[in-house]
């Protein structure tokens, strides 16, 4: 089974890597990181703070955009272009196909965000500290940023977050057209990043005395269903606090579980699909 999943993944990677939108997004990402230097200069002192924030945001957005632009069309394209015929008629299970496509896309995103991350880290360490002396116009090196473990962890968890979003994108891709999938995935992504408003709302309702059993129950279910992407945002720890939270393993487990559930839903849908 693993061999087949890997075969599909590798093929997906090969095909996705040729998608030109990837390069455009990568260029935009690099541009964002470079732009952060300008932002840093007008931020009075905390230029590294600005650069790190912008860099992390750029990597995150890059990954999510690839996930949405490429991932939502992934399976749809295969069906539309009928390349599935020769694949699903081989002894490949439908679930293996879904997981293979997912892994292949993850691999592509890993390469792209990895490249951007490395570029960002190099930039952060070396170039971020370069400034030019107004009097002489010469460049001098103030001090670059320190690459700490929390910063690396933040980058890793950005990728983990993207894994979850990609799973959602693949699920929608197996069921509907790219545009609809993109819209839905974006909505889920937005909701996921802000999912902490639901328990806050529940608490607020309780405080005001307006919470009914049924209302709270449904809100709670909504909270469980929405992917909790904010727990994978380690930016605050990396930039401001400088220490890792203790429950990283749990967060990772959450991401894996959620992705698996979503992909299994995709498999269920895909199995009933007729070609």
């Amino acid at each position: 089974m693993i061999g087949r999943v890997w075969a599909v993944a590798l093929n997906t990677f090969r095909e996705a890597v040729r998608d030109r939108i990837l390069y455009l997004l990568l260029v935009v990402g690099i541009g964002a990181v470079a732009f952060s230097k300008f932002l840093g200069e007008i931020s009075v002192g905390d230029h590294l703070h600005v650069i790190v924030n912008t860099g992390l945001t750029a990597v995150s957005l890059l990954g999510v955009m690839i996930s949405v632009f490429v991932g939502t069309g992934l399976i749809y394209k295969e069906i539309d272009k009928r390349t599935v015929y020769t694949i699903l008629s081989k002894p490949v299970r439908r679930g293996e196909f879904i997981f293979g496509k997912y892994l292949g896309l993850l691999l592509t995103i890993a390469v792209c965000t990895g490249l951007l991350s490395i570029g960002f880290l190099v930039y952060y360490r070396a170039v971020a500290g370069v400034a030019d002396d107004r009097a002489t116009g010469l460049l001098y090196w103030m001090h670059g940023g320190r690459i700490t473990v929390p910063l690396l962890a933040a980058l890793v968890f950005i990728f983990v977050e993207i894994c979850v979003v990609t799973a959602v994108a693949v699920m929608f891709s197996s069921a509907s057209t790219p545009i609809l999938s993109a819209v839905l995935t974006s909505i889920i992504f937005t909701a996921g990043r802000m999912s902490t408003w639901i328990p806050e709302y529940i608490r607020e309702l309780a405080r005001r005395g307006e919470s009914g059993e049924v209302k709270s129950f449904f809100l709670q279910i909504l909270y469980y269903i929405t992917p909790n992407l904010s727990i994978m945002d380690l930016r605050d720890e990396a930039v401001n606090i400088g220490a890792l939270p203790g429950d990283l393993a749990w967060r990772l487990l959450y991401a894996v579980s959620y992705s698996v559930v979503v992909l299994l839903v995709a498999t269920l849908v895909f199995r009933r699909r007729r070609f």
Partner: protein, 349 residues
Amino acid sequence: MDKPAIKAEKLRVIYRPSIFKRPRVGLEGLDLEVCPNEVFGYLGANGAGKTTTIKALVGLIDANGGYAEILGRPAGDARSREKMGYAPENPYFYEYLNPIETLDFYGRLFGMSRPDRLKRAGELLERVGLAGARDRRVRQFSKGMRQRMGLAQAMINDPEVLILDEPMTGLDPVGRYEIRQLILDLKEKGKTIFFSSHILADVEAVCDRAAVLHEARLVSCGALSELLSSRTVGVEIILGNVAPELEKRLSVAAASARREGALVFLSAVDEESGGKLLGEAVNGGATVKRYVPTRESLEEYFIRIRREADAEGNGDPDTRPEARVPGEAPVKPSGGDGEPGTANPEDSK
């Protein structure tokens, strides 16, 4: 026969494009058996259900009723596809790969090892005539090349059963000849081939058995010789050295007669009257150049079957079976792939 290679029992497929529209029957109660090491032709008009059948066998579609199996394993089960190869009608591949990479990918899906994959890929490309394009991207392939590629990927795992959906479409006559040879070669090697086609001549040329599908139902099935042998639609006699009075007598008895130069062409409706004509001609002193009982070509059979089924269904007064006049070009089959039927049945072999 011992265990059939492909078997379908009351196979039923219903299409329901949307909740609001009426469901459409794709396949109704199909009973079919394909023996091992047999070349089986699957015929039918467009929309009759050929592709539906194939997709149901291959696992692309779940049947709504009935049962089908390949090599003893239920169709739709991934394991049933381990020894099977399938070539779709218009095969599509990943555009940016070249044939070697494409076949390498398919080989991986079977768990073949890397050296095996590469060796087999090379062999297959040779076999289907794509060796010259092994480094070109599939994107740049012509239709015919894609068709060959489809065949190549179907054979990557050296399958025992090959299911081909219109394998000759898009090929030029040389290509079609090559594919026919390929099918016959495979049969030599002990493979079972099940293919659907519009090109009746090709079916006639290679198949052992054939089935005809009409509007989601199987209307006939059997060995080609059985299907056609009983239908001797006429006799063609070519005579030489015919005296004018003999000619006049014969032309009365015959269904049609004409003279071309020294030869006289006669046709009779069946073997009996043909025999009588022959006897008279010989007695009249003519030399017999040719005596050919013309069997119904598959094409004519096909058209007749359709008309009968239509008449059954519609009560259409226009569907009188028409006798074939020897020497005249047969009516082109409607809805065919554009491949004209051959003028003379003998030329199709």
